[in-house]
Symmetry: C2
Subunit: 367 residues, 2 copies
């Protein structure tokens, strides 16, 4: 049986609706993964997370490696038990964080050496260790170790990163030692059409369980990103899931589904939730705004999340003004529910073969 | 029908087990009230709070008056709706916070004038306004405005505070304008037996729905506090609930129940929870301790709270070390569950007429 089944392909876009099967259950795609960086989706319990409609979550190898350490997670029964999440989990490889968070000491074709952003400890990561660590953490989907580039680096640097990413991808595949885990390759190449195409083609030859698009949503802007996504997904096999890493806003997601993406992760719902910013169908609601003083309406009328069923905008504004933890908690619950509802709507529209019109409407009117 | 029914009086102590009836439901006593200072029990949702076994919660008039203001709570449908708590709520009168948190500008027999600890705004509170504010907030039980004294003030000062508290109690009773709310008087007098006795006797003449013991747990120590509690409860009517304000540790609660107290509130379970301190039957567990690194056992074996059913000490320690909100959230859930379980055990032992022996054992062995 294939781990990924495309159930429906949109007749007038690259969008598709499918089901991904993992060792800890199935995931309906297009899917959004809440980010549980260090083993917790910030501010909410796994039970609350499940109530948002989440089927799969993400955790960061880099963060877990630094703290508490892979041996601690392992001794506590692996990542599912550690996080108290029984459903599917995906771990990234640590590549992105090595390049964005740590002080990089050395990088060559073999791997990277960096100083922990927590305590400065010198740590080495390469294709084999990043894979072994993810094998030991025990997520359902693991990622190849890749070199992520910042937006705007020149083509020569992009090319070096792509070649390294490809070399490391082959080594990750050989090192991968747990057949219960799916291994995804990561396409790099910035917004350079040739390099991304080359990277995608070479990765496909290695035959991964799925393909991620990395190095996007890093400053290139919505249009350029969606263009790069569209070029890339055309080159990827139809029967494998495609995951756009770290993206994005509701508009990014709708447009990227239209360009053929199946999976997403992003910190926006929780990070914005902690900053009093609520996503709604009608647009952003900023809860610190004095307009919400004493407002009896919920964040979003008709929303069935715990926050909207029980609390008024006025109370939530008060919680933020008073520094009550319940403000960030409730808005994180709402925003994650909003994102899951968006994904459910996308899947419904795909199933009803109404996606393209709906997506065009959404992108024009709302976002 | 009486609002308070003593169902059982312990044969060898002043302990009693009863039921308090309020406009929003019944409360089994002895009862512990979680503290929802500014309209939220810090870190947990009302749903999680209910799952701890809580039947009644407390909110602080002083905090709500300063922010968001009584008119905001009122416009949002009153305190129950504001907090999303359908069960009984008690509000204090603000007296304690005026004396402990604010910069006091003026105090005389008429009332107090103080500067808000938030923005310095000059605010006046007296018996009538404190009562009217509580009438408008809409809790099920409201408290008389009282003058709370610090531990160690001389008898002359204590006497002035007692006389003011008595004068204000009469005015509160006359001002009280909502028959759905029970009004409790507050006995002051520090640890001075004569003054406390005098204050209790005079309050009883005014005939309140219940009586609180204020100004205790402020530095006098466990023994002196319990002594003062015992002297006071002897002077209070059998058929009215007795509430020891702001107390305390598990040992304080067990000893105070033995001395005839029916109701408690305290920030310890949530405040300690936020500081990685867990209450267990076996004593304190400090989750930052390196002994818990990688520990697979729950905080407390056999505890049925969400935290203990799903998370290991090792994971919770990691959450605290990483600054994850889930650490404080989970420990607050556990500690509040521990307190509610303690109260349930106290009630069970009282019903089984085994309370005195059990309490002696508890106070000797555990705390």
């Amino acid at each position: 049986m294939s781990v990924f089944e495309v159930q429906l392909t949109d007749s007038s876009s690259a969008g598709r609706q499918g089901v991904l099967t993992t060792a800890h259950g199935k995931v309906e795609t297009p899917a959004f993964m809440a980010v549980g960086t260090a083993g917790a989706v910030k501010g909410i319990t796994p039970q609350q997370l499940k109530e948002t409609g989440a089927e799969i979550i993400l955790a960061n190898t880099y963060h877990l490696l630094l703290r508490p350490g892979v041996e601690v997670v392992e001794s506590l029964g692996g990542l599912h038990k550690f996080m108290a999440w029984e459903g599917p989990i995906l771990t990234d490889s640590g590549g992105y964080q090595v390049f964005s968070l740590s002080r990089l000491a050395k990088i060559d074709n073999d791997g990277v050496e960096f100083a922990s952003h927590i305590d400065g400890a010198r740590i080495r990561l390469d294709a084999e260790t990043a894979t072994e660590i993810q094998n030991r953490l025990g997520a359902d989907i693991i990622m190849c170790f890749d070199q992520c580039t910042a937006f705007g680096v020149d083509k020569a640097q992009l090319k070096i990163a792509v070649e390294r990413t490809l070399g490391w991808a082959g080594r990750c595949k050989r090192a991968h030692g747990n057949s219960n885990q799916l291994l995804f390759g990561i396409v790099q190449g910035g917004t350079d059409r040739d390099l991304r195409g080359y990277c995608a083609g070479e990765l496909v030859k290695l035959d991964f369980d799925g393909y991620a698009l990395g190095g996007l949503g890093v400053g290139e802007g919505h249009e350029k990103m969606i263009e790069a996504v569209g070029h890339t997904t055309e080159l990827l096999p139809e029967d494998k899931p495609r995951y756009l890493m770290g993206v994005g806003t509701p508009a990014d997601i709708v447009a990227a589904v239209r360009a053929g993406v199946d999976m997403f992760d992003c910190v926006l719902p929780t990070r914005n939730g902690r900053n009093a910013f609520a996503f709604t169908e009608g647009g952003a609601v900023r809860l610190r705004n004095s307009a919400h003083r004493g407002a009896a309406e919920p964040i979003e009328a008709g929303c069935d999340c715990y926050c909207c069923r029980h609390f008024s905008r006025g109370t939530i504004r008060h919680f933020f003004n008073s520094g009550e933890m319940l403000g960030p908690i409730l808005l994180s619950v709402h925003n994650l529910t909003f994102y899951q509802r968006l994904m459910a709507r996308i899947r419904q529209r795909l199933k009803a073969n109404e996606f393209s019109d709906w997506a065009r409407e959404q992108l024009r009117n709302v976002y």
